[in-house]
């Protein structure tokens, strides 16, 4: 092999691997990303049943009902609309009524959001970022909260470059 041929082999091989990687990435981006919605966005966009998305908002006060065998239902609201959520399993440490929550799952035929994952952050002053952004846009943002979440965010991200610090509910 001449030097040129060798170099071409190398470049050809690299391009092949990169092409495979690009195909994998594009394929994965099409199939495995999950969009974020708030209840009002769900109402406006008519999300079809069975499509996975992340639902964010505040847990409505007085809506949490514990059923048999670790089943729970609660309502998530964003000030304009509310959506009933059903989950089975252990809720995270910081799941509380009146606080922010992000749930991942899909709507069922009757319009109930069946969550298989419920996320909350470990620091109680912290609100999930998607929720905070959405609430800010709609003007439901308390300034006081913003300051505290700044402070919380510092220690959140600070010492643990490794971990999200998120807890999540484990589905049964």
């Amino acid at each position: 092999m001449t030097r040129k041929q060798r170099r071409l082999t190398m470049i050809g091989g690299s391009l092949a691997v990169l092409a495979v990687a690009a195909a994998l990435v594009l394929n994965a981006l099409r199939d495995s990303i999950v969009f974020f919605s708030t209840p009002v966005m769900v109402a406006e966009k008519h999300v079809p049943a069975g499509r996975r998305f992340r639902l964010g908002g505040l847990v409505e006060r007085g809506s949490l009902v514990h059923g048999a065998d670790l089943a729970v239902t609660f309502k998530v609201g964003d000030g304009s609309a509310t959506l009933p959520v059903a989950f089975k399993g252990i809720l995270p440490d910081l799941f509380r009524e009146g606080q922010g929550v992000v749930a991942e799952g899909a709507l069922d035929a009757s319009g109930v959001f069946k969550a298989d994952t419920v996320l909350a952050k470990h620091d109680e002053t912290y609100m999930p970022k998607d929720v905070a952004d959405a609430l800010k846009k709609q003007g439901h943002w308390k300034d006081d909260y913003g300051d505290k979440s700044q402070a919380a965010q510092a220690d959140q991200s600070a010492a643990n470059p490794q971990s999200a610090g998120a807890t999540r509910g484990v589905p049964q």
């Binding site: 510092a154 010492a159 470059p161 610090g165 049964q172």
Partner: protein, 660 residues
């Protein structure tokens, strides 16, 4: 007083760094050894002052001086001493101070032990180190001063985030930073080589131990962080593909590639330009990681936009260093002479393949991490890219890499014999096939994925061992000779064997844990019994007790197997009064490499307690693998070749001198 002294020491360190950034370069231009040697003294003095500044912050935390904002916000007088110390880097300002302290430490090490470096190279390397240091000193002093005072000091502090009050976190960030920041050395060497306009095999030999050192720390740091998340976050996950984790994985992947390409450069004087580029990229990814974690951009793009001071400053540092070094690279790389030739099938070729797959895998992680941020900034759409994305992209790229790993060390330099290597790997292949068959039969025809993946892992381990057998002549020669040969084998070769076997072992752990993990979730009352993976767990009772700065509810479980009592497990739930938050302390019972894992949920009104119990087979291998890799790295680092110092650099010919 201590706070002011610490602040002042930091300002002095900045002044020293500014001197170190300029004078040695001037000295190198004027070929003045005195000016060039300034770098050595300033680097050591810098280490002294930053060390002093860091010690001052530690003192403030230990003595609970709440007149300092940083201490007030992150400490509490009742906190145990160990967490008072680790709380120093449990917050933004303190961890940045740790970052620059480690940077100064590495600079000091080069200054102290770099006596065998050519004078001008050392001057350039230390000057580049000082550029980085100056940027970060300015960042700390302008935007995140840890020594700020409060006008009316409160009596009590706000306490450290309870999740961070853990021994795993005491060690994890310093380890990770030693890795991140350690790559600054190879970056400085690369930029110095570009500035000097020449590079040779001796250069690679100087760079390799530093890269290896950083890589060892990063490997251990990532593994430790993963284990911390596993037992502290309370739901048994050990890797979340969270952006913050990816931020540390990307430099690790690039650093692993760099480690391998530096070998090619050292042995064969080839891949020079590529090695330089990788050095720059690896540290750039470390800087990117610092930006992602420190700027708050991950927590919220909006928070970043409304309080941009810190984020923009780091972004600026990022742009200047990455942009600057890449421009320098584009401008000067062509001045570096291309090195040795090699056939595609050769040790070099195998290492190129390794680099190709590692950097491509790194690129997919990069896309998965930054795409959601970019999309949100551009279109406002919010998406999350989670584990499915990475499983679909990262895993397929790692499979061919794993298959190729055992072949690499068996191929000869320059022109290898693939058939010969395959013959020598015959035994490893047979072992792997037997394992696949056995595992598949044992799981009674379950999914084929797990047996195949385990077979692949066994192939990697057996391949590493066959390399060892091949080199020592075990089975072919009398045992005594084989042992003598094994003793005579360079430690770097032993390092390769351990590191490669470590990859296989970690893979076995990952596959076993994800495939055969069993879990039980339910609510239990005292004397209830849960059955998980053949174990019986009986809830004996729940008690309350107080800790130094928390109250905890402890549940006691009696674990038995086949009616035989094994042990008692005590998971607990702690509530920290100062912050009003709770943490879940999981209880772990180790059986061989497998673990039983119990964590507690809420207590309901009728006294039943929500419990999750996992049996995680072979889970410890996930972290044992990286430990083995790091051990391999340490063996390689202790190789005589690296201790005796590099050979004299090739004499520079006129053609290689920078165009001036």
């Amino acid at each position: 007083m201590i706070a002011e002294a610490g602040h002042y020491a930091l300002v002095l360190a900045l002044a020293l760094a500014l001197i170190q950034s300029t004078v040695p370069i001037l000295g190198a231009r004027l070929r003045d050894p005195v000016l060039m040697n300034v770098a050595r003294s300033t680097a050591l003095a810098q280490l002294l002052f930053v060390g002093g500044s860091f010690a001052a912050l530690v003192t403030l935390h230990v003595t609970s001086d709440f007149s300092v904002v940083n201490v007030f916000e992150n400490s509490h007088s009742m906190k145990p001493l160990i967490y008072k110390i680790t709380g120093v880097w449990g917050n933004h300002e303190g961890s940045m101070l740790l970052w620059v302290s480690i940077l100064a430490l590495f600079g000091g090490l080069v200054a102290a032990f770099g006596n065998n470096l050519p004078l001008s190279l050392r001057a350039h390397v230390l000057a580049v180190q000082a550029w980085i240091a100056s940027a970060f000193y300015l960042f700390i002093l302008i935007t995140s001063n840890p020594f700020l005072r409060i006008a009316n000091p409160p009596i009590e502090g706000r306490d450290l985030n309870p999740v961070l009050q853990d021994i795993g976190l005491a060690v994890h960030p310093p380890m990770l930073y030693l890795g991140y920041v350690g790559f600054s050395i190879s970056f400085s060497f690369a930029v110095a080589a570009l500035l000097e306009g020449r590079i040779d095999a001796a250069w690679a030999r100087w760079v390799r131990p530093w890269t290896l050192l950083a890589w060892i720390f990063l490997t251990l740091g990532i593994a430790m962080g993963s284990y911390w998340a596993y037992y502290e976050l309370g739901w048994g996950g050990w890797w979340f593909w969270d952006p913050v984790e990816n931020a540390s994985l990307m430099p690790w992947l690039a650093g692993t590639a760099l480690l391998h390409s530096a070998v090619v450069m050292e042995k064969r004087n080839a891949l020079k330009v590529w090695t330089i580029l990788l050095s720059i990229l690896t540290f750039s990814l470390s800087l990117l990681g610092t930006f992602l974690v420190r700027s708050g951009v991950l927590t919220s793009v909006h928070a970043f936009a409304t309080d941009p001071e810190r984020g923009v400053f780091i972004l600026l540092i990022l742009c200047v260093f990455i942009g600057g070094s890449l421009s320098l690279y584009a401008w000067r790389a062509s001045a570096l002479k291309q090195g040795g030739l090699f056939a595609p099938i050769s040790r070099e070729g195998a290492l190129v393949l390794n680099n190709l797959f590692l950097t491509t895998a790194c690129a997919t992680v990069f896309i998965g991490t930054l795409y959601p941020l970019a999309l949100e900034v551009i279109t406002g759409d919010k998406i999350s890219v989670g584990a499915p994305f990475f499983n679909l992209t990262f895993a397929p790229l790692f499979v061919p890499l794993m298959i190729a790993v055992p072949f690499g060390p068996l191929l000869a330099w320059k022109r290898g014999d693939l058939l010969g290597a395959a013959q020598r790997l015959f035994a490893a292949g047979v072992v792997a096939l037997i394992v696949i068959a056995v595992v598949w039969a044992w799981t009674r025809g379950g999914s084929a994925f797990a047996p195949l993946a385990i077979g692949l892992a066994v192939f990697v381990i057996a391949g590493a061992l066959s390399d060892l057998v091949e080199r020592t002549g075990l089975f072919r020669m009398p045992l005594a000779i084989a042992l003598r040969r094994a003793r005579g084998l360079p430690r770097a070769s032993w390092g390769t064997v351990f590191a490669h076997a470590g990859v296989g072992i970690a893979l076995i752990g990952i596959v076993c844990e994800t495939t055969w993990n069993t879990e039980y979730i339910g609510s239990m009352k005292p004397d209830d019994v849960a059955h998980v993976a053949g174990y019986e767990l009986k809830l004996d009772g729940v008690t309350q007790r107080g800790g130094p700065n928390f109250r905890e509810m402890v549940a006691q479980f009696e674990v038995s197997l086949d009616g035989r009592r094994l042990s008692v497990m005590t998971p607990s739930k702690r509530s920290f009064t100062t912050r009003g938050s709770t943490t879940t302390e999981a209880a772990l019972l180790t059986r061989g490499a497998s673990q039983l894992y119990i964590s507690l949920g809420d207590t309901s009104a009728d006294g039943a307690i929500a419990v999750r119990i996992y049996h995680k087979p072979m889970v410890l291998l996930i972290w044992f693998g990286p430990v083995l890799m790091a051990f391999g790295g340490m063996l390689s680092l202790s190789d005589r070749r690296l201790r005796v110092g590099a050979p004299k650099p090739a004499r520079a010919s006129r053609a290689l001198q920078p165009a001036e």
